[in-house]
Amino acid sequence: MGRTVLLIEDEPNIIEAISFLLERDGWTVRLHSDGVDAVSAVYRIKPDVVVLDVMLPGRSGFEILKELRQDMALQDLPILMLTARGQTKDRELAESYGVSAFMTKPFSNTEMLDTVRALAERAGA
């Protein structure tokens, strides 16, 4: 089994597109669509990279990111935040919580794939 990406996203057609791209690139893609227990999913799945949406049902991606980074063991977990909210303040908030990379929707497939690969390599996954 290859490296694992946990995709936390609730838009079904975006999930399908990203999953297709990552799987063809050799990744194992695990899905989670709800904000409320997303942190538990990270502990359970132990992914190499997390792709995290901001607007999720039940809980925002910012809150999930903040909670994950509060655990010392997850300080270096590569997290790519993918959001329709591209305002400077959102990017700054994500950076203050320790996001590894930030991309706004609509995104380029190539750029998304390159970013996931680069994050994994940087983390030694």
């Binding site: 838009e11 057609n13 975006i14 399908e16 597109a17 990203i18 297709f20 791209l21 063809r24 607007m55 329709a84 909210r85 929707k105 609509p106 995104f107 380029s108 497939n109």
Partner: protein, 428 residues
């Protein structure tokens, strides 16, 4: 030069328009031609019987001769100049006298600028804080992302299997339909916003529009009490949803209770007798300041009434009720100016605050603010508060007012210690 000084010029112009010689006018009014000459060149003041006499001969209204038709222009130019922007304030009257056409244009432009600033403020408020628009934009970007990513896969993956191809085609179809629906929804949302008399996005806005149309005075409730509330809710065009009718119902019940405690005739007379002093009225009627604030804001407009505004917010600063007085902008959504006494009151529940303020439109107001607990006392849960700020216009009585704004994005005040973000009205 005082305003009356230009009376001489007006007398001279009126006389010449009639083709009357200076000596003839002087003779008919019992003064010497040389004295009339001094008056006409604004070197002697004129008033009283002589002014009336000259006006009679010239067939003019004495007040028009004394004051001219420029009072409104002078006031308009003073407003346009503002308090301290380097304009030659002391020469306004001379300017109006010499260039009335330009004065009229400058005044009209200043009024237009004020109106445009108010429009910009409203639109900015809307675009920044409109929850409906924000949600629809999110939906649009979600659909566009899915379409772009999926289309890109189809184009860049020639060996894609038939199953995947069919699924992706179906996904693009579904997302394009969703995009079309969302776009139509956004268009109709903007359309509703464009109609100023109906179609408001939120229940609070609909209720706000209702009170605005009624000028914050509900005559039926004043006359007949709460029994008329169902009729009002059923027949007011502003209420487009059950949610709006529910919010309005609560507001109108509070209105009816206030009327019961402070009947219009008694309260109106007392308000005038106390010169609209809320504390004195609260003592006289033995009610909370909040009740007096609401009641003062609901009095019908009258010549002997000052302009009264009221804003009520919850502990989070969200505005629940807004009655903007002329010359004081209240944002529809989002954060207001933190320098408002309303927010000082919010941090000191139960402690009334009295402060004088000046708006960005150079209008002066007495303000009274207080924060009161909401609902019945309880040991369960956090306490909830509503804060209210009453604004009473008082151009002559207010001394050394504190400059305040509406909200940072539409506030032109430079160097404000409370500024959160740059103003879109600052050109530098």
């Amino acid at each position: 030069m005082p305003r009356s000084a230009l009376a001489g010029t007006r007398i001279r112009e009126s006389r010449m328009a009639l083709g009357l010689k200076q000596a003839d006018l002087a003779a008919q009014t019992g003064i010497s031609a040389s004295y009339l000459n001094l008056i006409e060149h604004n070197k002697r003041r004129i008033g009283g019987k002589l002014l009336v006499s000259i006006a009679g001969v010239l067939g003019r209204d004495p007040n028009m001769l004394a004051q001219g038709g420029e009072s409104a222009l002078i006031e308009g130019l003073q407003n346009a100049a503002g308090p301290s922007d380097g304009a030659e304030i002391d020469q306004i009257e001379e300017f109006v006298g010499r260039f009335p056409g330009w004065a009229e244009k400058i005044t009209a432009q200043a009024q237009r600028i004020a109106a445009l600033e108010a429009t910009v403020g409203g639109l900015n408020d809307r675009l920044t804080h409109d929850p409906v628009l924000s949600e629809k934009m999110h939906d649009v970007l979600g659909s566009v992302s899915a379409i772009r990513s999926t289309a890109s896969i189809l184009v860049t993956t020639p060996d894609i299997g038939a199953d995947w191809r069919a699924r992706f085609h179906a996904n693009i179809d579904a997302e394009s339909r969703r995009l079309a629906e969302t776009s139509a929804g956004m268009a109709s949302h903007f359309d509703r916003l464009a109609r100023r008399d109906s179609g408001f996005a939120t229940p609070l806005e609909q209720v706000s529009a209702f009170f605005e149309r009624r000028r914050y005075h509900i005559a039926e409730i004043e006359a007949d009490g709460p029994v008329v509330i169902p009729d009002i809710l059923a027949n007011s065009p502003e209420f487009e949803s059950d949610a709006a009718r529910s919010v309005a119902g609560t507001a109108l019940k509070i209105y009816a209770r206030d009327v019961e405690r402070l009947p219009l005739v008694t309260f109106g007379a007392a308000a005038r007798a106390t010169r609209f002093d809320p504390a004195a009225l609260a003592r006289e009627f033995k009610v909370d300041l909040m009740v007096v604030f609401r009641r003062l804001a609901s009095l019908p407009i009258a010549a002997d009434m000052p302009e009264v505004g009221l804003v009520i917010c919850d502990s989070a600063g969200a505005m629940l009720f807004r009655k903007p007085p002329p010359g004081f902008g209240l944002p529809r959504f989002g954060a207001a100016c933190p320098l408002w006494p309303l927010f000082s009151a919010l941090s000191t529940p139960g402690q009334p605050i009295r402060r004088d303020v000046e708006s960005t439109e150079n209008r002066k107001f007495r303000t009274y603010a207080v924060t009161s607990p909401v609902g019945m006392p309880s040991f369960e849960g956090p306490p909830l508060y509503h804060a209210a700020m009453l604004l009473i216009s008082d151009e002559d009585g207010v001394q050394n007012p504190r400059p305040v704004g509406s909200s940072c994005r539409v506030c032109p005040r430079p160097d404000c210690v409370a500024r959160r973000e740059p103003s879109i009205l600052q050109v530098d």
